[in-house]
Amino acid sequence: MQTTRDLVYDNWHPVCTRLAHGAKTLRTLLLDVPIEAQAGPRIRRADTGAELPVLERFGLVWTTLGRPDQDLFDVPEFLEPDRRNLSAGPIGVAVSAPRAIENFLDLAHFPFVHTDILGAEPHTEVKDYEVRTSEDGREIIATGCEFFQPLAALTAAGGKKVDYIYRVPHPFCSVLYKSCFVDPSRMDVIAIFAQPMTQETIRAHLVMSMLDDVHSDTEMRRFQQTIFGQDKPILENQRPRRLPLDPRAETPIRADLSGIAYRRWLSAGRVTYGVIPAQH
């Protein structure tokens, strides 16, 4: 019996994009529990047959095994009529969800992992940025992040200094806002919603909400898939696969401020799934 609500168990998790009528049943895992998704959308546990609650948001179908005490977080940009909302996932990765989220928050790897796209040597410096927790403690926000990028997006012509804002509104979900080259007054939105299949495997649902009238859906999806395809081998070679929350487990630097805050936030929220909790 759950006595207090668990930040992971009693929360919504992404499962798939909306299934077409008559589509094959999707069999997958959520928090080690086998589930089945059908058009409708309908989701049920494959072990007990119990129907699970369903929510549709950001082009994905979400469900929960527990009793969420709140609605899913909001990304208002998805409702702006001139944006193109696309999903470029899911991509299976043999890593814990928190490792994938921490990688999503990381700027310093751009020149080494996304060479000549999101970064290029010798432009490796990560300038100091700000990280805060929202007033209700439900969300981490990193602002003032900037990085030099040779090809920040399909709409960027040549190298640009790019501004980023990151949100972590859910233990296994993160949303980033980055400079938009079509309309400098607005920002493109890219999100990773990690579906925790087991403690050490995820399906990464990549979703974007972009201002781009030029490129096809396929081109835009491929761009995100290329980027994430470069992250995947790094993520799968991280040991341990679960995120260690003990500050002594790894060696953070100033550039990792958002990762440090994320680890603390998981610790404070008593998250145990996909992490190695700190020993006190």
Binding site: P111, F112, V113, T124, E125, V126, R239, R248, E250, T251
Partner: protein
């Protein structure tokens, strides 16, 4: 089961049980990184261009990415994730690209395991200080390894049963010697590497190459593969796979404060003249491995009479087996350099500090200009070597009295067109040359200067005049020629220690802090090297050093505690 043979020529060779083969020598081709595993621990195994074999924990200390997917550049291993660099031998981190203006603030050092290359195999021990005992020297011939998905005891038992017709002797719990009764002069060594609880790697070594190598290799391979199939069919693998365990990092890596650097004892391996007034000294560790250093680092050398002098390390990333310093004998030299030049001989022992990094080199510049005056070349030589090793563009400009006084001339010739020398220039000519070589400042350009105060002044003034910002001009003074005014008296508050300390006239902040029982590293104690810099939280410092640049002095956010004082009645330090 154990048919112990009579003593053979091999009998003294009892292998040390702590040491295991972890790779074949051929698994380490040029600039490769091999992924090994021993007793559940993953290993990154790589050979530097100088032949040294490194066996490390297979993870970057930063975010746990396996170093076996990293890049071996011949002298350093570079992590694929964030480009952190680790030096061969010491495994010390030498560069963190996300913060190019800073030296790694803590001594981030990966775990190194003792390793040795012998009999065509790479051997390693997980515990330090275990003496290696190998097979006798000889023309050993190795068969290819076979991986068994079964525990070592089970595999060895099967090998022993299979070998029943031979005489068998155990050389260690994981190694046996077999000799055919029919042909006792032929010896076969079987080595089992317990990779983890459920995986064993079996290797066979013959004491000499067989006449028909191919047939023998096929035969051995067939025997082992048949045995493996039988064992794996019998006991399916997977149940007992141990995950690699990672011990937590030492506490000091998690703490922002740097640990007190430990002293080192070195031997003067070589001393030779590199200019009319300069000697070079090759320093080798008396035991163990020298710590990693970054270009621009200096060390404190304690001389036989107790005096301490600072010298820059001149080596590049591929010079980690020994350190080289340059010592100038000045006509009116203080005792230290004269003593090194005249009295220190090859074979003598010297006591050193760990390297101090107060003159860091950025490796993210589009143009790096290095300007040296005479013996000021020493830190810049290390920088030039690092930039060349990393394939970064740089120019090295060296000013000297004449050809005879140009230090390390032979090394300089190796840099080809990247070096420009300026001999016998008077101050006006020097000024003109600096103006021409610097040019106007462009994006991502940095200048580094070391030498006499006149040269440093000329470079900083000229650079400022040409529009170079302070943060693009880096310099290192050997000494502080300013007259220190220590007549003021004021109150110091040490915020973290919750102490209030009075600094009377004639006493330095550094001594007052130490008298209060708070430890603070220092080196030159003349306001030149920057080792004793402390952050200022409140109050106005009275800067008397030559380490901080004008912008840093104006900001008042840090202070060199050995010579500077306070212009306010109270100064609050982050100590």
């Amino acid at each position: 089961m154990n048919h112990l043979s009579s003593p053979s020529p091999l009998s003294p060779a009892i292998l040390s049980p702590a040491w295991h083969p972890i790779a074949a020598a051929a698994d380490l081709p040029f600039r490769h990184v091999f992924h090994g595993k021993l007793l559940g621990r993953e290993l990154a195994v790589w050979r530097a261009d100088d032949g040294h074999v490194n066996v490390w924990d297979n993870r970057c200390l930063h975010r746990g990415v396996r170093l076996s997917i990293g890049m071996n550049d011949g002298a350093e291993l570079k992590c694929q994730y964030h480009g952190w660099r680790y030096a061969s031998r010491s495994a010390g981190c030498t560069y963190i690209p996300a913060h190019p203006a800073n030296s790694p603030s803590r001594q981030v050092t990966n775990r190194v395991f003792p390793a040795i290359e012998r009999h065509g195999l790479i051997w390693a021990a997980l515990e330090p200080d275990q003496p290696f005992a190998g097979l006798p020297a000889g023309d050993w011939f190795a068969a290819r390894e076979v991986i068994f998905h079964a525990p070592a005891e089970r595999v060895l038992q099967a090998v022993a049963e299979e070998a029943a017709p031979c005489s068998l002797a155990w050389l260690s719990p994981y190694a046996m010697r077999l000799a055919l009764r029919a042909a006792p002069e032929e010896t076969l060594i079987i080595l089992a590497q317990p990779a983890d609880g459920g995986t064993t790697i079996i290797r066979a070594l013959r004491d000499r190459a067989p006449s028909d190598a191919k047939t023998w290799l096929r035969q051995i391979n067939r025997i082992f593969v048949t045995m493996r199939d039988a064992i794996e069919a019998d006991a399916p693998a997977g149940a007992d796979l141990a995950e690699p365990d990672f011990s937590p990092l030492p506490a000091e890596l998690a703490e922002p404060a740097a640990p007190a650097p430990a002293g080192l004892t070195v031997t003067v391996a070589r001393k030779w003249q590199v200019a009319a007034d300069v000697f070079a000294l090759n320093l080798r560790p008396l035991a163990g491995i020298l710590p990693a250093f970054q270009p621009g680092a200096h060390i404190d050398v304690t001389l036989p009479d107790g005096t301490v002098r600072q010298y820059s390390l001149t080596g590049g990333p591929d010079e980690n087996e020994f350190w080289t310093i340059g010592v100038r004998l000045m006509p009116n030299s203080r005792g230290g350099s004269r003593m090194i030049a005249e009295q220190v001989r090859e074979g003598d022992l010297l006591s050193l500090s760990a390297p101090r990094h107060n003159f860091p080199l950025r490796r993210d510049a589009l143009r790096s200009v290095l300007i040296a005056g005479g013996i000021g070349l020493t830190p810049l030589l290390a920088m030039a070597k690092a930039l060349r090793h990393g394939g970064h563009p740089f120019e090295l400009h060296v000013f000297a009295r004449d050809q005879a006084h140009l230090p390390f001339a032979e090394t300089l010739r190796g840099f080809g067109e990247s070096v420009q020398t300026y001999l016998g220039h008077d101050p006006a000519q020097t000024q003109e040359a600096i103006k021409n070589l610097l040019g106007p400042h462009g994006v991502s350009q940095h200048v580094y200067v070391c030498g006499a105060p006149g040269l440093i002044d000329a470079v900083t003034r000229t650079a400022t005049g040409l529009g170079w910002p302070d943060e693009a001009v880096h310099y290192e003074h050997f000494s502080n020629d300013r007259t220190i005014d220590s007549s003021s008296s004021f109150t110091l508050e040490l915020a973290r220690s919750a102490l209030t300390v009075e600094v009377p006239a004639g006493c330095s902040m550094l001594s007052a802090i130490r008298q209060a029982g708070v430890s603070l590293p220092s080196s030159c104690e003349r306001g030149a090297c920057g080792t004793c810099v402390v952050k200022v939280l409140e109050g106005v410092p009275d800067h008397q050093d030559v380490y901080l640049n004008a912008t840093e002095k104006l900001s008042g956010r840090s202070v060199v505690t050995c010579v500077s004082r306070a212009n306010s009645q109270r100064l609050v330090l982050d100590l």
